[in-house]
Amino acid sequence: MSAYGVLFAALVAIPLGIFIARYRKLSPWVFSLANVIQTIPALAMLAVLMLVMGLGANTVVFSLFLYSILPILRNTYTGITNVDHSMLESGRGMGMTRNQLLRMVELPLALSVILGGIRTAMVIAIGITTIGTFIGAGGLGDIIIRGTNAANGAAIIMAGAIPTAMMAIIADILLGGLEKVLSTSKKKPDVSQKAA
């Protein structure tokens, strides 16, 4: 369930990030909007969305989607705007079209940073999904709530909380590993900085 929200967010935020990296004037506007969403407390967000969309998994996925947008958007934007200028110049000088430049140079070089954004989003998402139980979305959160309602529910709470934490940690490690693999085999542009 957490993955869905992040996935949808990535589908929207990555193209949006690319777009505002190209038209930088738009970026402050887009970022302030995304920031506003991010500062709404999770429970409040769920509550509001619940009023609009009713109870259920869809509501949680939608709020995950909203929360994941900012980290992915921010990293996509940073990743692309930080691509070394000399890379762009040699690409353009060799006759790449705007799209080829994006596909063959900018995106590959920004990939590890974008993945970093997805990783952050994923960790946040797992936390929120757990809260999602309050609006009846099921999942591990259910177990935790059952524990708090039982007489001596510590064990039950643990049974819910530990897997939740584990999931967050494992997702973080997996994505972190992927990020590292990508940034070592696809080397960062550092040579030119030494030169300059």
Partner: protein, 386 residues
């Protein structure tokens, strides 16, 4: 082949980065733009592949205004090398080299073959093809940067301080390699630098710029001999005004073109007669085709004159021979380290065309020491040996 016609570039503001530049560059010419930082060299170069658009005037390639060409196609037919090298870190060496061919949609195996072929030009092994740029030294990376510009065989190549970021020794190696490469490839090259040594070494023609204007243009030796004004003189540097002379000269200019020779199949008595008649202590031995065989000297004569052998049987071989076209500087070094008195000069058929003696070299050294004074006295013109 490449024409600048009253080209002016104004970035925002009123200052002209390039001011009314008119220049004709011929096919196969190696042209070097040089000048202090900020004089507009990079701007000039980037206007050719339209990374920067001209404000006024026009630039044409093979008679066609570049404004009328498709931007992307124009750039794919112009090689481009920058100081920051700009290899793509996420692509292998092969992918980097064959990027323009890929944009031009060459089939995969043709791209790979081309990359192999190019690596051979700079004597790098094929195993580099699958490495990433980070695994290469700075010098190797820039070699790849140059190959990448050559990949689709463009007739025109732009190079913006390509060796500027390399250490001095690597830089010199690459300069020599590249000059050699250029001779065999016959490309038109527009090269930007602020290093006068580099410009004099590489250029067919040097264009000296200052504040967006051309101050002087001409061959390296012309500029060194006839600097147009104090700015140029200062920019070239006093040392080079003089030093450049011997280093630009080749052995033909100082050799004695008519050394005393004897035939290989003469007997020694005849040879001795010739030696005596010419009052020399050494004679060069050649065969009927004037092909160089060796020499005989006083020592040979003393030892064998009674035996009256054929010259070919008693001759000694020269420890060092030099080929036509060898720069004088290289010869001076050789003579100094090997203590030989004479060096024959031969052409590509091994035929003797002259000889360099200690005396002719002494003249050169003398001139390069005293030549400077001549300059200051205003007698200027040809330093070196007449």
């Amino acid at each position: 082949m490449l024409e600048f016609n009253q080209v002016t570039k104004v970035y925002d503001g009123t200052e002209k980065a390039v001011n009314n530049l008119t220049l004709d560059i011929e096919k196969g010419e190696f042209i070097v733009f040089i000048g202090p930082s900020g004089c507009g060299k990079t701007t000039t170069m980037k206007m050719v592949n339209r990374l920067i658009e001209t404000t006024e005037g026009s630039i044409s390639i093979e008679g066609e205004n570049i404004k009328n060409k498709d931007l992307v196609e124009l750039r794919r037919t112009i090689g481009y090398v920058i100081q920051q090298i700009g290899l793509f870190p996420h692509m292998t060496i092969q992918e980097n080299i064959s990027l323009v061919p890929k944009l031009l949609k060459w089939p995969q195996d043709k791209r790979r073959d081309r990359a192999k072929e190019l690596l051979k030009l700079v004597e790098m092994e094929e195993s580099y093809l699958d490495k990433f740029p980070e695994e290469l030294s700075g010098g190797q990376q820039q070699r790849i940067g140059v190959l990448r510009a050559l990949a689709a065989d463009p007739p025109l190549i732009l190079m913006d301080e390509p060796f500027g970021a390399l250490d001095p020794i690597t830089r010199e190696t690459l300069q020599m390699e590249f000059k050699q490469l250029q001779k065999s490839l016959h490309k038109t090259i527009v090269f930007v630098t602020h290093d006068m040594d580099e410009a004099l070494k590489l250029a067919d023609r040097v264009v000296i710029m200052k504040e967006g204007c051309v101050v002087q243009e001409g061959t390296p030796s012309h500029i060194v001999r006839n600097p147009a004004n104090d700015f140029v003189r200062e920019f070239i540097g006093k040392d080079r005004l003089v030093q450049n002379d011997p280093s630009n000269q080749t052995v033909e200019e100082i050799m004695n073109p008519n050394p005393v020779t004897v035939q290989e199949d003469m007997n020694l008595r005849e040879a001795i007669k010739i030696v005596k008649a010419n009052r020399v202590d050494t004679a060069v031995v050649v065969n009927e085709e004037k092909e160089l065989k060796g020499f005989i000297d006083v020592d040979t004569i003393n030892r064998y004159h009674r035996d009256n052998l054929e010259v070919g049987k008693v001759l000694k071989e020269f420890p060092i021979e030099v080929k036509k076209g060898t720069p004088l500087a290289a010869v001076i070094r050789k003579i100094l380290v090997s203590e030989v008195k004479y060096m024959p000069v031969i052409d590509e058929n091994k035929s003797l065309i002259g000889i360099i003696t200690g005396a002719s070299l002494a003249d050169v050294v003398y001139e390069s020491i005293w030549g400077e004074e001549e300059h200051q006295n205003g007698e200027n013109e040809t330093i070196g040996v007449k």
